[in-house]
Protein backbone atom coordinates (compact mmCIF):
# COMPACT_ATOMS: atom_id res chain seq x y z
CA UNK A 1 0.00 0.00 0.00
CA UNK A 2 1.30 3.43 -0.86
CA UNK A 3 1.66 6.23 1.63
CA UNK A 4 0.41 9.57 0.34
CA UNK A 5 0.98 12.72 2.37
CA UNK A 6 -0.97 15.71 1.09
CA UNK A 7 0.63 17.98 3.65
CA UNK A 8 4.22 17.42 2.53
CA UNK A 9 3.05 16.48 -0.99
CA UNK A 10 4.70 13.08 -1.14
CA UNK A 11 3.92 9.69 -2.62
CA UNK A 12 5.85 6.76 -1.13
CA UNK A 13 5.74 3.34 -2.79
CA UNK A 14 7.31 0.02 -1.88
CA UNK A 15 8.65 -2.24 -4.62
CA UNK A 16 9.95 -5.73 -3.90
CA UNK A 17 12.41 -7.75 -5.98
CA UNK A 18 11.58 -11.45 -5.60
CA UNK A 19 13.22 -14.56 -7.03
CA UNK A 20 15.39 -17.59 -6.28
CA UNK A 21 18.81 -17.40 -4.61
CA UNK A 22 21.60 -15.86 -6.69
CA UNK A 23 19.24 -14.76 -9.50
CA UNK A 24 20.51 -11.14 -9.34
CA UNK A 25 18.05 -9.21 -7.15
CA UNK A 26 20.78 -7.47 -5.16
CA UNK A 27 22.73 -6.89 -8.39
CA UNK A 28 19.72 -4.96 -9.76
CA UNK A 29 19.77 -2.67 -6.72
CA UNK A 30 23.54 -2.25 -6.87
CA UNK A 31 23.36 -1.20 -10.52
CA UNK A 32 20.55 1.28 -9.82
CA UNK A 33 22.54 2.65 -6.88
CA UNK A 34 25.61 3.17 -9.10
CA UNK A 35 23.71 4.92 -11.84
CA UNK A 36 21.28 7.20 -10.02
CA UNK A 37 22.55 10.68 -9.17
CA UNK A 38 23.57 11.21 -5.51
CA UNK A 39 20.73 13.62 -4.78
CA UNK A 40 18.14 11.09 -5.95
CA UNK A 41 19.21 8.21 -3.76
CA UNK A 42 19.76 7.31 -0.15
CA UNK A 43 22.11 4.68 1.22
CA UNK A 44 21.98 1.13 -0.10
CA UNK A 45 21.46 -0.98 2.99
CA UNK A 46 22.26 -4.68 2.81
CA UNK A 47 21.46 -6.97 5.69
CA UNK A 48 23.64 -9.78 4.40
CA UNK A 49 25.60 -12.74 5.75
CA UNK A 50 29.40 -12.75 5.88
CA UNK A 51 29.42 -14.34 2.43
CA UNK A 52 27.25 -11.50 1.09
CA UNK A 53 24.11 -13.57 0.71
CA UNK A 54 21.04 -11.51 1.61
CA UNK A 55 19.99 -12.41 5.13
CA UNK A 56 16.96 -10.21 5.69
CA UNK A 57 16.68 -7.59 2.94
CA UNK A 58 18.46 -4.99 0.83
CA UNK A 59 16.95 -1.53 0.81
CA UNK A 60 17.43 1.40 -1.55
CA UNK A 61 15.34 4.57 -1.28
CA UNK A 62 14.98 6.56 -4.52
CA UNK A 63 13.57 10.05 -4.80
CA UNK A 64 13.30 10.59 -8.50
CA UNK A 65 11.41 13.86 -8.74
CA UNK A 66 7.91 15.25 -8.71
CA UNK A 67 4.85 13.99 -10.48
CA UNK A 68 1.80 16.26 -10.56
CA UNK A 69 3.44 18.33 -7.82
CA UNK A 70 4.06 15.32 -5.57
CA UNK A 71 7.57 14.21 -4.60
CA UNK A 72 7.71 10.58 -5.66
CA UNK A 73 9.71 8.14 -3.58
CA UNK A 74 10.27 4.51 -4.39
CA UNK A 75 11.58 2.22 -1.70
CA UNK A 76 13.22 -0.79 -3.34
CA UNK A 77 13.58 -3.99 -1.34
CA UNK A 78 14.96 -7.41 -2.17
CA UNK A 79 13.98 -10.58 -0.36
CA UNK A 80 16.50 -13.27 0.58
CA UNK A 81 16.31 -15.88 -2.17
CA UNK A 82 17.54 -18.91 -0.26
CA UNK A 83 14.72 -21.35 0.43
CA UNK A 84 15.10 -21.45 4.22
CA UNK A 85 14.58 -17.70 4.67
CA UNK A 86 10.90 -18.07 3.96
CA UNK A 87 9.68 -16.20 7.06
CA UNK A 88 11.76 -13.14 6.10
CA UNK A 89 10.35 -13.19 2.57
CA UNK A 90 6.80 -13.15 3.87
CA UNK A 91 7.52 -10.15 6.12
CA UNK A 92 9.17 -8.09 3.41
CA UNK A 93 6.49 -8.79 0.85
CA UNK A 94 3.83 -7.42 3.18
CA UNK A 95 2.69 -3.95 2.24
CA UNK A 96 4.40 -3.89 -1.14
CA UNK A 97 2.88 -1.91 -4.00
CA UNK A 98 4.50 -3.89 -6.77
CA UNK A 99 6.65 -6.98 -7.28
CA UNK A 100 9.45 -7.66 -9.76
CA UNK A 101 10.18 -11.35 -10.19
CA UNK A 102 13.80 -11.87 -11.22
CA UNK A 103 14.31 -15.24 -12.91
CA UNK A 104 17.68 -16.86 -13.55
CA UNK A 105 17.77 -17.84 -17.25
CA UNK A 106 20.22 -20.71 -16.78
CA UNK A 107 18.86 -24.18 -17.62
CA UNK A 108 19.81 -25.65 -14.25
CA UNK A 109 17.99 -22.86 -12.37
CA UNK A 110 14.59 -23.36 -13.99
CA UNK A 111 13.31 -25.55 -11.19
CA UNK A 112 14.35 -22.93 -8.63
CA UNK A 113 12.56 -20.22 -10.65
CA UNK A 114 9.32 -22.18 -10.68
CA UNK A 115 9.64 -23.05 -7.00
CA UNK A 116 10.26 -19.39 -6.10
CA UNK A 117 7.28 -18.23 -8.17
CA UNK A 118 5.05 -20.74 -6.38
CA UNK A 119 6.45 -19.50 -3.09
CA UNK A 120 5.55 -15.93 -4.08
CA UNK A 121 2.06 -17.00 -5.09
CA UNK A 122 1.47 -18.74 -1.78
CA UNK A 123 2.68 -15.71 0.22
CA UNK A 124 0.48 -13.38 -1.81
CA UNK A 125 -2.46 -15.69 -1.15
CA UNK A 126 -1.72 -15.48 2.60
CA UNK A 127 -1.92 -11.69 2.28
CA UNK A 128 -5.23 -12.07 0.44
CA UNK A 129 -4.01 -11.16 -3.01
CA UNK A 130 -2.41 -12.71 -6.11
CA UNK A 131 -0.06 -11.98 -9.00
CA UNK A 132 -3.05 -11.06 -11.16
CA UNK A 133 -4.17 -8.37 -8.71
CA UNK A 134 -0.90 -6.53 -8.08
CA UNK A 135 1.50 -4.61 -10.33
CA UNK A 136 3.82 -7.44 -11.43
CA UNK A 137 6.76 -7.51 -13.84
CA UNK A 138 9.17 -10.33 -14.73
CA UNK A 139 12.85 -9.95 -15.48
CA UNK A 140 14.68 -12.78 -17.26
CA UNK A 141 18.20 -12.22 -16.02
CA UNK A 142 21.64 -13.52 -17.03
CA UNK A 143 20.87 -13.53 -20.76
CA UNK A 144 24.61 -13.29 -21.50
CA UNK A 145 25.40 -16.76 -20.15
CA UNK A 146 25.85 -19.70 -22.53
CA UNK A 147 23.58 -22.32 -20.96
CA UNK A 148 20.27 -20.46 -20.94
CA UNK A 149 16.73 -21.46 -21.83
CA UNK A 150 14.81 -19.55 -24.50
CA UNK A 151 12.51 -16.65 -23.63
CA UNK A 152 9.60 -18.74 -24.98
CA UNK A 153 10.34 -21.47 -22.45
CA UNK A 154 10.66 -18.93 -19.63
CA UNK A 155 7.37 -17.39 -20.67
CA UNK A 156 5.69 -20.78 -20.73
CA UNK A 157 7.00 -21.74 -17.31
CA UNK A 158 6.65 -18.43 -15.45
CA UNK A 159 4.38 -15.96 -17.21
CA UNK A 160 0.97 -17.53 -17.71
CA UNK A 161 -0.92 -14.26 -17.58
CA UNK A 162 1.18 -12.29 -19.99
CA UNK A 163 2.65 -9.80 -17.55
CA UNK A 164 5.27 -7.38 -18.87
CA UNK A 165 8.73 -8.98 -19.02
CA UNK A 166 12.27 -7.87 -19.82
CA UNK A 167 15.43 -9.68 -20.77
CA UNK A 168 18.34 -8.53 -18.63
CA UNK A 169 22.00 -8.76 -17.77
CA UNK A 170 21.79 -7.05 -14.39
CA UNK A 171 25.56 -7.09 -13.81
CA UNK A 172 25.98 -4.91 -16.91
CA UNK A 173 22.79 -2.94 -16.38
CA UNK A 174 20.93 -4.30 -19.40
CA UNK A 175 17.19 -4.27 -18.72
CA UNK A 176 17.55 -3.00 -15.14
CA UNK A 177 16.01 0.43 -15.57
CA UNK A 178 13.47 -0.82 -18.13
CA UNK A 179 12.15 -3.23 -15.50
CA UNK A 180 12.07 -0.59 -12.77
CA UNK A 181 10.39 1.93 -15.02
CA UNK A 182 7.65 -0.54 -15.95
CA UNK A 183 6.85 -1.43 -12.33
CA UNK A 184 6.85 2.29 -11.42
CA UNK A 185 4.39 2.90 -14.22
CA UNK A 186 2.10 0.09 -13.09
CA UNK A 187 2.26 1.18 -9.43
CA UNK A 188 1.50 4.83 -10.21
CA UNK A 189 -1.30 3.82 -12.56
CA UNK A 190 -2.74 1.83 -9.70
CA UNK A 191 -3.09 5.08 -7.74
CA UNK A 192 -5.61 6.28 -10.31
CA UNK A 193 -7.82 3.24 -10.03
CA UNK A 194 -7.08 1.91 -6.56
CA UNK A 195 -7.49 5.27 -4.85
CA UNK A 196 -8.15 5.39 -1.14
Amino acid sequence: MSFINYSSREINCKIVYYGPGLCGKTTNLQYIYQKVSPQAKGKLISLATETERTLFFDFLPLELGAIRGFKTRFHLYTVPGQVFYDASRRLILKGSDGVIFVADSQVERMESNVESLHNLESHLAEHGTSIEKIPFVLQYNKRDLPNIVSVEELQQALNHNNHPYFEAVASKGTGVFETLKMIAKLVLNELKTGAG
Partner: protein, 166 residues
Protein backbone atom coordinates in the same frame (compact mmCIF):
# COMPACT_ATOMS: atom_id res chain seq x y z
CA UNK B 1 -2.49 -4.20 -3.60
CA UNK B 2 -2.05 -5.17 0.02
CA UNK B 3 -4.91 -3.40 1.77
CA UNK B 4 -5.72 0.25 1.37
CA UNK B 5 -3.30 3.13 0.92
CA UNK B 6 -2.40 5.33 3.86
CA UNK B 7 -3.46 8.86 2.98
CA UNK B 8 -2.74 11.77 5.31
CA UNK B 9 -4.17 15.26 4.80
CA UNK B 10 -2.97 18.64 6.01
CA UNK B 11 -5.15 18.77 9.12
CA UNK B 12 -4.12 15.37 10.51
CA UNK B 13 -0.51 15.99 9.52
CA UNK B 14 -0.50 19.13 11.69
CA UNK B 15 -2.08 17.26 14.58
CA UNK B 16 0.54 14.49 14.29
CA UNK B 17 3.42 16.96 14.24
CA UNK B 18 2.01 18.82 17.24
CA UNK B 19 1.64 15.58 19.14
CA UNK B 20 5.24 14.53 18.35
CA UNK B 21 6.58 17.96 19.35
CA UNK B 22 4.73 17.78 22.65
CA UNK B 23 6.15 14.32 23.31
CA UNK B 24 9.65 15.56 22.48
CA UNK B 25 9.37 18.29 25.10
CA UNK B 26 7.89 16.02 27.74
CA UNK B 27 10.48 13.27 27.33
CA UNK B 28 13.53 15.51 26.69
CA UNK B 29 14.33 13.05 23.89
CA UNK B 30 16.80 13.79 21.08
CA UNK B 31 14.41 12.98 18.25
CA UNK B 32 11.12 11.27 17.56
CA UNK B 33 9.89 9.53 14.40
CA UNK B 34 6.54 8.19 13.33
CA UNK B 35 6.85 5.43 10.74
CA UNK B 36 4.30 3.24 9.04
CA UNK B 37 4.80 -0.53 9.27
CA UNK B 38 5.91 -0.64 5.64
CA UNK B 39 8.88 1.59 6.44
CA UNK B 40 7.58 4.95 5.20
CA UNK B 41 8.34 7.96 7.38
CA UNK B 42 5.17 9.80 8.42
CA UNK B 43 6.57 12.53 10.67
CA UNK B 44 9.59 13.51 12.73
CA UNK B 45 10.86 16.15 15.15
CA UNK B 46 13.94 17.02 17.21
CA UNK B 47 17.56 16.63 16.18
CA UNK B 48 17.08 15.05 12.77
CA UNK B 49 19.58 16.99 10.70
CA UNK B 50 22.16 14.85 8.94
CA UNK B 51 20.28 11.71 9.85
CA UNK B 52 19.53 9.10 7.18
CA UNK B 53 15.83 9.07 7.90
CA UNK B 54 14.81 6.77 5.01
CA UNK B 55 17.14 4.04 6.28
CA UNK B 56 16.09 4.68 9.88
CA UNK B 57 12.42 4.24 8.94
CA UNK B 58 13.03 1.13 6.85
CA UNK B 59 15.19 -0.61 9.46
CA UNK B 60 12.77 0.25 12.28
CA UNK B 61 9.92 -1.28 10.29
CA UNK B 62 12.12 -4.30 9.52
CA UNK B 63 12.90 -4.62 13.21
CA UNK B 64 9.22 -4.55 14.13
CA UNK B 65 8.41 -7.04 11.37
CA UNK B 66 11.12 -9.44 12.53
CA UNK B 67 10.16 -9.28 16.21
CA UNK B 68 6.51 -9.62 15.18
CA UNK B 69 7.47 -12.84 13.43
CA UNK B 70 9.26 -14.00 16.58
CA UNK B 71 6.21 -13.13 18.69
CA UNK B 72 3.98 -15.27 16.54
CA UNK B 73 6.37 -18.20 16.82
CA UNK B 74 5.85 -18.23 20.58
CA UNK B 75 2.11 -17.63 20.36
CA UNK B 76 2.06 -13.86 20.98
CA UNK B 77 0.30 -11.52 18.58
CA UNK B 78 3.15 -9.03 18.58
CA UNK B 79 5.63 -7.30 20.90
CA UNK B 80 4.22 -3.82 21.20
CA UNK B 81 7.29 -2.25 22.84
CA UNK B 82 11.00 -2.72 22.01
CA UNK B 83 13.95 -1.10 23.74
CA UNK B 84 17.54 -0.99 22.47
CA UNK B 85 20.14 0.34 24.85
CA UNK B 86 23.27 1.98 23.49
CA UNK B 87 26.30 3.50 25.19
CA UNK B 88 25.12 7.05 24.52
CA UNK B 89 21.77 6.87 22.75
CA UNK B 90 18.94 4.41 23.21
CA UNK B 91 15.87 3.56 21.15
CA UNK B 92 12.33 3.10 22.40
CA UNK B 93 10.10 1.60 19.71
CA UNK B 94 6.38 1.09 20.16
CA UNK B 95 3.41 0.21 18.00
CA UNK B 96 0.44 2.58 17.79
CA UNK B 97 -2.97 1.41 16.52
CA UNK B 98 -1.36 -1.74 15.07
CA UNK B 99 -0.24 0.07 11.93
CA UNK B 100 2.28 2.77 12.82
CA UNK B 101 5.51 2.77 14.82
CA UNK B 102 6.66 5.44 17.25
CA UNK B 103 10.44 5.65 17.56
CA UNK B 104 12.01 7.75 20.33
CA UNK B 105 15.77 8.31 20.40
CA UNK B 106 17.03 9.54 23.76
CA UNK B 107 20.24 9.95 25.76
CA UNK B 108 21.17 10.62 29.41
CA UNK B 109 19.03 13.78 29.47
CA UNK B 110 16.02 11.47 29.62
CA UNK B 111 15.29 8.01 31.03
CA UNK B 112 13.55 4.84 29.96
CA UNK B 113 10.90 5.27 32.64
CA UNK B 114 10.05 8.80 31.54
CA UNK B 115 9.95 7.85 27.85
CA UNK B 116 7.76 4.84 28.55
CA UNK B 117 5.31 6.89 30.61
CA UNK B 118 4.98 9.75 28.13
CA UNK B 119 4.87 7.48 25.08
CA UNK B 120 1.87 5.72 26.58
CA UNK B 121 -0.07 8.98 26.80
CA UNK B 122 1.06 10.21 23.40
CA UNK B 123 0.03 6.87 21.86
CA UNK B 124 -3.54 7.44 22.98
CA UNK B 125 -3.55 10.84 21.33
CA UNK B 126 -1.98 9.50 18.14
CA UNK B 127 -4.47 6.63 18.11
CA UNK B 128 -7.30 9.16 17.98
CA UNK B 129 -5.68 11.01 15.09
CA UNK B 130 -5.20 7.78 13.17
CA UNK B 131 -8.78 6.78 13.75
CA UNK B 132 -9.75 9.97 11.90
CA UNK B 133 -7.24 9.18 9.14
CA UNK B 134 -8.58 5.65 8.68
CA UNK B 135 -12.19 6.88 8.80
CA UNK B 136 -11.48 9.38 6.06
CA UNK B 137 -9.74 6.73 3.97
CA UNK B 138 -12.63 4.34 4.39
CA UNK B 139 -15.19 6.86 3.22
CA UNK B 140 -14.85 5.74 -0.37
CA UNK B 141 -17.11 8.44 -1.70
CA UNK B 142 -15.48 11.02 0.51
CA UNK B 143 -12.70 13.51 0.32
CA UNK B 144 -9.83 11.03 0.11
CA UNK B 145 -11.11 9.11 -2.89
CA UNK B 146 -12.17 12.22 -4.74
CA UNK B 147 -8.89 14.04 -4.21
CA UNK B 148 -6.85 11.00 -5.18
CA UNK B 149 -8.84 10.52 -8.35
CA UNK B 150 -8.65 14.10 -9.51
CA UNK B 151 -5.00 14.41 -8.55
CA UNK B 152 -3.73 11.21 -10.11
CA UNK B 153 -6.14 10.58 -12.96
CA UNK B 154 -3.98 12.56 -15.32
CA UNK B 155 -0.64 10.83 -14.70
CA UNK B 156 0.71 10.08 -18.16
CA UNK B 157 3.48 7.81 -19.42
CA UNK B 158 5.47 10.96 -20.17
CA UNK B 159 5.25 12.01 -16.49
CA UNK B 160 6.72 8.67 -15.48
CA UNK B 161 9.42 8.81 -18.17
CA UNK B 162 10.42 12.23 -16.84
CA UNK B 163 11.04 10.74 -13.37
CA UNK B 164 13.76 8.54 -14.84
CA UNK B 165 15.56 11.24 -16.76
CA UNK B 166 17.65 12.24 -13.75
Amino acid sequence: MFGSNLVIFEEESKRINASLAKLLGETRAKSIFLIDKNGHLIGSCGETQGMDMASLASLTAGNIAATGGLAQLIGEEEFSVLFHQGERDSLHISIVVKRVILLVIFDERSSLGLVRLRVKRASEELAQIFETIFRKAEAKSGEAKQMMETRFAEITDADIDNLFKT
